[in-house]
Amino acid sequence: MTNVYFELTREFNQLGPAAALSSGQAVVYYRLAIMSKDGDWIVRDAPEPCAHVRSVLSRHGALHRPSAPLDVRWLGGGWSSHFEYYDVDERRIRCDFVSRPPRVSAETLTAMFRGQSAGQPFLVVDRDTLIRLKQTGRAKDYAVIGELARQLPPDQEVEWTTDIDRILALSVIVNRPSSRPSVQAAQRGAGRAAVVAALALEIDELQQSDRRRLAVYQRAAEPYLNEFRRMALDRLPVEQAHEHACRLAEALLPQRPTEE
């Protein structure tokens, strides 16, 4: 018995580092929770890994859900590409891809695709990267961040934790400056209420920042998505859908909407 998303990760990386398991299934991998009906991957920002991933999806009979093409021209601008198929047990398998996720540096991505770490059964994002991915507009992701941070050494945990009690405890142990207002408040002995307020503001700013980012993409996507659905590209085999989606995207989907 396997986890279908773990197994897909092995398939995606059969020819070399191509796609790192991320988000909810990475949370499962790190044994924080049993969760996530979908699989998410960061795909290497190059044509060959994108082509290989598409071929794997094609073998599974996947369909291209209304979304950007799995192509570096759009993935490189922060778009995501989504697919779906049903396995032999009729379970819905959803596969989502990005190559330039928010808040993750190009250097981190380059290092990620040098290959999996010793002892890892397949390529999966590290905890630091996973925490950055989880700094979304969704409140539930911040509880996950707090639990992920617990798996880090104290001097790193204090820079990420969303747990007020851990901030208060670690600010006494970790004796170095922090850029976080909540940790600064704890370190100067501002009192619990002040630290709670600072933490709430930190999280709210992260959430609002991600929502502002998403709003740009959502406005830019509308003409393309409407036409994608009208053309029913989500009922075509993957490679055929991809060909049409790219032609459509060349006309209607700005490659880098945040720069326009």
């Binding site: 018995m1 986890n3 859900r65 209304p66 047990d89 509880a143 994608f228 659905r229």
Partner: protein
């Protein structure tokens, strides 16, 4: 004061499961979770998260394009 954890004591033994036990537990959950598929949002997160992810309408024309 003990910090409040995201998971209960029973859930926290995930770290003590063997790889095989973890996979079995996840598959059991995934199988049960299939029952809610039709109520899931089109996209769980990402740039399309708040977009209508409805599939293309079914038409009498069998050739999509």
């Amino acid at each position: 004061m003990k910090a409040v954890r995201m998971l209960s004591e029973d859930d926290l033994n995930l770290s003590e499961l063997t790889d095989d036990e973890l996979v079995r537990a996840w598959n059991l959950w995934f199988d049960v979770a299939q029952s809610t598929n039709e109520w899931d949002p089109p996209y769980s997160h990402g740039v399309f998260a708040d977009v209508d992810g409805a599939p293309s309408p079914v038409s009498t024309n069998e050739d999509p394009i």
